[in-house]
């Protein structure tokens, strides 16, 4: 069973009028893909569709065996909690939660994903791996941009998701720290079978991942 399978996907962005057409794309469990392409080609839109945040105009979206295209908005939210880990661009932490609470936040978003008593221990291990082991009690406002980005990565991996959707997870990191982030993703992929789609403009990061995908090449030209 494919971890991700897209068939005849067509997405229209309601605000900008941007359209994306993807005839076919599939990824297996444990795959790690660097998704590349020029700005505005639809990389973030594709991640939003895979996460169920944005609905497709037509086509089939299968993620971890779930037909996302058939889900209602409420079901898509539950699907995200249960199957998807997301590293979002920008200020993507809750400022009034500590770093440790931000990491375990996916377990506190309502029914559908049972609280794991091991989550705090795993959160600490993830923070240790990402070089933030002694930052658990701090608030995001006291962290640098790079540190916040790494907390975001830890939060995305805490639930051992089937699919990790990471939008520029290393954009604010030095090469050494970026390697630590990629190592964490590799560890999740190896130990939990997480399929990772990493959007990046950094050739070094792309080269460090086993697979590369170039979105304009995958997409179908639109009139």
């Amino acid at each position: 069973m494919s971890a991700v399978r897209l068939l005849d996907l067509r997405v229209r962005h309601p605000g900008s009028g941007f359209q994306l057409a993807l005839p076919r794309w599939s990824l297996q469990r444990g795959d790690r893909v660097a998704l590349q392409g020029p700005s505005g080609c639809g990389k973030s839109t594709l991640l939003a569709v895979l996460a169920g945040v944005m609905a497709a105009e037509r086509g089939e979206i299968w993620v971890d065996g779930v037909a996302v295209h058939e889900l209602s908005a409420g079901q898509r939210a539950a699907f995200r909690r249960q199957h998807i880990g997301q590293v979002l661009p920008g200020e993507a932490l809750v400022p009034w939660l500590s770093v440790a609470d931000n990491v375990v936040l996916p377990y506190r978003l309502g029914p559908g994903l049972d609280w794991d008593p091991e989550a705090p221990v795993r959160a600490q291990a993830l923070l240790d791996r990402l070089g933030l082991g002694d930052h658990g009690h701090r608030r995001p406002e006291g962290l640098s941009t790079g540190e916040r980005q790494r907390v975001s990565v830890a939060r995305a991996l805490i639930t051992r998701p089937a699919v990790l959707l990471a939008d520029e997870p290393t954009s604010a990191l030095d090469p050494g720290t970026a390697r630590a982030v990629l190592a964490a993703i590799e560890h999740a992929s190896d130990s939990d079978g997480t399929t990772a789609i990493v959007v990046t403009h950094d050739p070094a990061v792309a080269a460090a991942l086993p697979q590369q995908a170039f979105l304009p090449a995958m997409a179908e030209p639109l009139p």
Binding site: A51, V53, A73, G74, A77, A78, F79, R80, R81, Q82, I84, Q86, L88, E91, A92, L93, V94, P95, W96, L97, D101, L105, P106, R108, L109, G110, P111, G112, R139
Partner: protein, 387 residues
Amino acid sequence: MTRLTRDAAWLAVRAIRAAPGRFCVLSAALGVALGLPLITWQAGSQAGEALRQRASATPVVLGAPGDTFDLVFGALYFRPGSGPPLHWSVVEQARSLDLVLAPLHVRHRADGVPVVGTSPEYFELRGLEASAGRLPTMLGEVVVGARVARERGLVPGHTLRADVSVLHDLSGEAPLTLAVTGVLASAGTADDRAIFTDVRTAWALDGSLHGHAAVEEEQALPGGSSEDHLRASGAVVPADPVVGGTQDFHLHGDLDDQPLTAVLAFPESQAAHDLLLDRAATVPGLRAVRPGPVVDELLAVGHRVRDGLLLFLGLMAGAMVALVGLVLSLGRRLRRQEAGLLVRLGSHPDLLPAMHALESLLLLAVGLAVAAVLTLAARAALAEVLS
């Protein structure tokens, strides 16, 4: 508790903990706004109840013509009246009726506390007993109210000096030393805040009943003295303390003319009650007043004022609740980005509304707790003031 509620509570508590100052200010403002109407209502009811109880425990007050409120509140709460005094003869005349009488003389103070001259019947009728020592039996002896004793550390055996109200009148009232023979058990009424003595001691404080200390040769006035006779002014050598020299004390003037502030009358039957009111109406210079209706009249005015105040405070509380709601609403608008993040991460559609509702409920609960604490504190403080 459902999973959704648990998660909403987890988030709400952390949101509050992140801004404790804002939460404290809002809940305190809410507590004060909700507490003030409660305190006002409570204070009105409590004061009204205390006044009614005191009034209903006193069937009739006899006094000289003058202001009714002055007479009733002077007799019930030991405030010196501004009207003309009643005379002892009234007590003697009223004894023929089926009554128990307690004369009151409230004119003097000791250490700022009213000294109430009365008779042993007063203690019996009010149900007052000494918790330490005994009630006064001799001239110059006093028993102090529970609160007076507590605040001033008085115990039987101590003495008090009567306050001097007229400094330049050598022939007038004498600042006598009063012997504390007992402390009254707390009654939770105005009796706790007074000093009680026999009415004759009160007259001694007036200066109309006094004694003379033995005059020594060196105190003799120049001229007029002989070998077996000394001329001295008793006014400059008043007997003080009274106790121990009572045999020399004597009254200047007629007993019937001695002043009283009021007389509490406790008719032993309805017939005696009616007869007293009837007779009092025919005696010149005498008035019989039932304290109950007087207090009710005062309370009716007080309740009208209280109701107006309650309306005003209720409007203020409503405005404060609306203001707190506005602050919460603006706060949520400022946190829209975080809300968007939670939705993006897959939060349950009802999680954010549940979290906001719990935040508001916690704020309201703490506000109500603050209001309750303020009301209870005000109640305790008022009970202390009213006792």
